[in-house]
Amino acid sequence: MSAETHSPVREPLHRPAGLAGFASDWASDQRTFKNVSWGKAMMWIFLLSDTFVFGCFLIAYMSARMSTAVPWPNPSEVFALHIGGSDVPLILIAIMTFVLITSSGTMAMAVNYGYRHDRRKTALLMLITALFGATFVGMQAFEWTKLISEGVRPWGNPWGAPQFGSTFFMITGFHGTHVTIGVIFLLIIARKVWRGDFDTGKAGFFTSRKGQYEIVEITGLYWHFVDLVWVFIFAFFYLW
């Protein structure tokens, strides 16, 4: 039995396709999601939980916006920049969205190179992703500064319902925190990739076990999630 226990990792015995495969995976021993590592499973479940956090924030915001007796400020006017003599609505938000979605693209490329164990390209692409992320946070800081200088506060604003400022700062702030944490994680893992930690079996990130290149993909999952959440914030807060 000892020889069996320490035998190399093998494919499970029977794996039918389709619905039967789904049933057999759930009825099987050891792993419910075959070929999904512990780390990846954990990230997916965390993202499910985090979805509920953002969901609650957005539903709370929507209920506040729908039930307020005071008019809600018009986002197209509030989030306009004065460029070349005319107000361009939502221009900064459009650029921010573009930057964040682009960063998802570079992240996906980093994952690809990570699986080819191409240290330099992986690290470089993660660095570029982090740079896009930092740019996004920077532009958000600019947006916050502009609104604050115009008199928007968590407890009130010059144009209407006080909940406008409070939900705006809370939701974009919470999302911005997510992006910032993502940037920090990207930098830490890019450094580990660059040093070759995952080739020499050094301890991974957030665990005392050997690190794997898969952590690049797991970080990517988080990054794409943060990107996706932004799309919802964009739709519900700015476009509504």
Binding site: Q30, F33, L48, A60, A69, M170, S208, K210
Partner: protein, 591 residues
């Protein structure tokens, strides 16, 4: 009578995952304090939870003293009384029950019962405990902060929770409470992800989901629910913290306080109630489902019989878990809502009684003609069934809008939820501690002290909470500091209150016997051996007792379901899960 299936010659697949490397500690500090071993983390969680639970016990004494003997204790003024009930409720529900079931029993039992070496991410698991401890310390700090802890009631309803009329409302109390809850949720998420992934992806060879002991099913389902319900609490806490600190108006409508118009306006207190109860109702089952699971295993082991209807039990747990997310507004019948909503939530609430009743029937049918050993864990399990049925039946009363409206905010509600989610799960916790203590320490708990503890606790709990139903029915409101002179409360009700208070003091004192037993037996208890209850599940088959770091020398292979007790033709009246062979009475698909 029993379905016995012979020699299917089942083939167990090879290991799909390499045996994990564990971080082996090098010093006393990393071995016992900053430990990554789930078993040590479990004991840390449990000790912290019991310690803070003792604080909550003393608080309940103090509030009972006021109710039984109003005005006799000068230091219990109205403000303190509200602080006591608030902290008692919050500590018991979150910091004791949730932490002990999931952080304590979850950490100890999941890896051992599934034949894993540890949780999948021991490092995050360790962080989970330290964040929990930090949350507890922040909570305790509020006792020493200016203005004392919050007195808003455990539901923390705004707007009163953050106003000056409530103790701690415009002091530190509410801020520390909310911060502590936020820390708790973050810490719990780290642990909870571990429990879920360990169950889904970290089982040993042969351990299918339908071969997991019901204990693991209960803890697993409760953890999934917690990961989806705690976000609502997290969001509610963040928003109320902003209302309090930044002056936002998420939950604060326009309010005149002491003749002064406050700066708030336009917020919705009902929104908080929805967020809170979207967490709060699943929370009831986050506490109850692990209890359901554990009690199933206790009954099966100590009645030497397989659990009746194993798969029905599993599906009942899953269905209860799912339904509990669509019943939350039955806590808000008197908050004002569309009558059609009341109808919807009353219906879903009553539907939950179906899977719950299935579980109760199956427990009783497991006992039916069993070889019942009235050991301490069994006594507590039996006490649980009775108490849970009692509390559950009053739940059916309160689930109906027309019955709830007059009974809401009376002692009847207090009696209901203390029976169903206070006393019942606590009884399971006691039973579980008596059951698994021998595995954790290698020694049995003292039987005589245990009997005393059981009988005083069980009978005493009934003497405390049964009369409260009556007090509620005659209209005695809850949350009142003192009743004063009222026409509808007879003098005998006050005598009853005195009686309840004296009982509460006695039952509380019995818990000191239990604590003493826990400590005394570590050195003086009878040697237990590896499997004192002759149980089938994997945690009793470890090579060492207490199990070492990594649990096993070679990972066990599972050949059968966890309930092969009294199998006809077997050499002994139990067959461990890791013993090969065809004789079994597992149902089709579970074997």
């Amino acid at each position: 009578m029993v379905d016995i299936r012979h020699g299917t010659g089942e083939q167990i697949g090879p290991a799909e995952v390499e045996d994990v490397e564990l971080y082996h500690p090098h010093s006393w500090w990393t071995r016992y304090v900053f430990s990554q071993d789930a078993k040590i983390i479990a004991v840390q969680y449990a000790s912290t939870a019991i310690a803070i639970g003792m604080v909550a016990l003393v608080l309940s004494w103090l509030m009972r003293l006021q109710l039984g003997f109003p005005g006799a204790f000068a230091f219990i003024d109205a403000e303190r009384y509200y602080q006591f009930i608030t902290m008692h409720g919050m500590i018991m529900v979150i910091y004791l029950l949730t932490a002990l079931f999931l952080g304590g029993f979850g950490n100890y039992l999941i890896p051992l019962m599934l034949g894993a070496r540890d949780m999948v991410f021991p490092y995050a698991n360790m962080l989970s405990y330290w964040l929990y401890l930090l949350a507890v310390l922040v909570l305790v700090a509020s006792f020493f902060a200016p203005g004392g802890p919050t007195g808003a009631g455990w539901t923390l309803y705004p707007p009163q929770a953050v106003m000056s009329g409530t103790p701690g409302g415009n002091d530190w109390g509410i801020v520390l409470m909310l911060s502590s809850l936020i820390l708790f949720v973050i810490g719990f998420t780290m642990g909870g992800l571990n429990y879920v992934v360990t169950v889904l992806q970290g089982r040993t060879r042969g351990m299918t989901l339908m071969r997991m002991p019901l204990t693991v099913w209960g803890i697993f389902t409760a953890t999934v629910m917690a990961l989806l319900a705690f976000p609502a609490l997290f969001v509610a806490c963040v928003m109320m913290l902003f209302d309090r600190i930044l002056g936002t108006s998420f939950f604060m409508p326009a309010i005149v306080e002491m003749g002064e118009q406050l700066q708030h306006g336009g917020g919705s207190p009902i929104l908080f109630q929805h967020l809170f109860w979207f967490f709060g109702h699943p929370e009831v089952y986050i506490v109850a489902l692990p209890a359901f699971g554990i009690v199933s295993d206790l009954i099966s082991t100590h009645a030497r019989k397989n659990i009746f209807g194993y798969r029905m039990m599993v599906w009942a747990i899953v269905i209860i878990g799912a339904l509990s997310f669509i019943v939350w507004a039955h806590h808000m019948y008197v908050s004002g809502m569309n009558p059609y909503f009341g109808f919807f939530f009353a219906t879903t609430t009553l539907i939950i009684a179906v899977p719950t009743a299935i579980k109760v029937y199956n427990w009783v049918l497991t006992l039916w003609r069993g070889d019942i050993h009235l050991s301490l864990p069994m006594l507590f399990a039996l006490a649980f069934i009775v108490t849970f049925v009692n509390g559950g039946l009053t739940g059916l009363f309160l689930g109906n809008v027309v019955v709830d409206v007059p009974l809401s905010d009376t002692m009847f509600v207090v009696a209901h939820f203390h029976m169903v989610m206070g006393v019942a799960p606590i009884l399971v916790i006691f039973g579980a501690i008596y059951h698994w203590y021998p595995k954790i320490t290698g020694r049995m708990l003292n039987e005589a002290m245990g009997q005393l503890h059981f009988w005083v606790t069980f009978v005493g709990a009934y003497l405390i909470f049964f009369p409260m139903h009556y007090l509620g029915l005659i209209g005695m409101p809850r949350r009142y500091y003192e009743m004063g002179e009222t026409a509808f409360v007879p003098a005998s009700a006050h005598t009853l209150n005195e009686f309840i208070t004296i009982m509460a003091l006695i039952v509380g004192a019995a818990q000191i016997v239990f604590l003493f037993n826990l400590i005394w037996s570590i050195r003086h208890g009878r040697e237990a051996g590896g499997n004192p209850w002759r149980a089938t599940t994997l945690e009793w088959q470890t090579p060492e007792t207490p199990p070492r770091h990594g649990n096993w020398k070679e990972l066990p292979v599972v050949y059968r379901w966890p309930y092969d007790y009294s199998v006809p033709g077997a050499a002994e009246d139990f067959i461990p899960q890791n013993q090969p062979g065809a004789t079994s009475h597992a149902p089709e698909g579970a074997s």
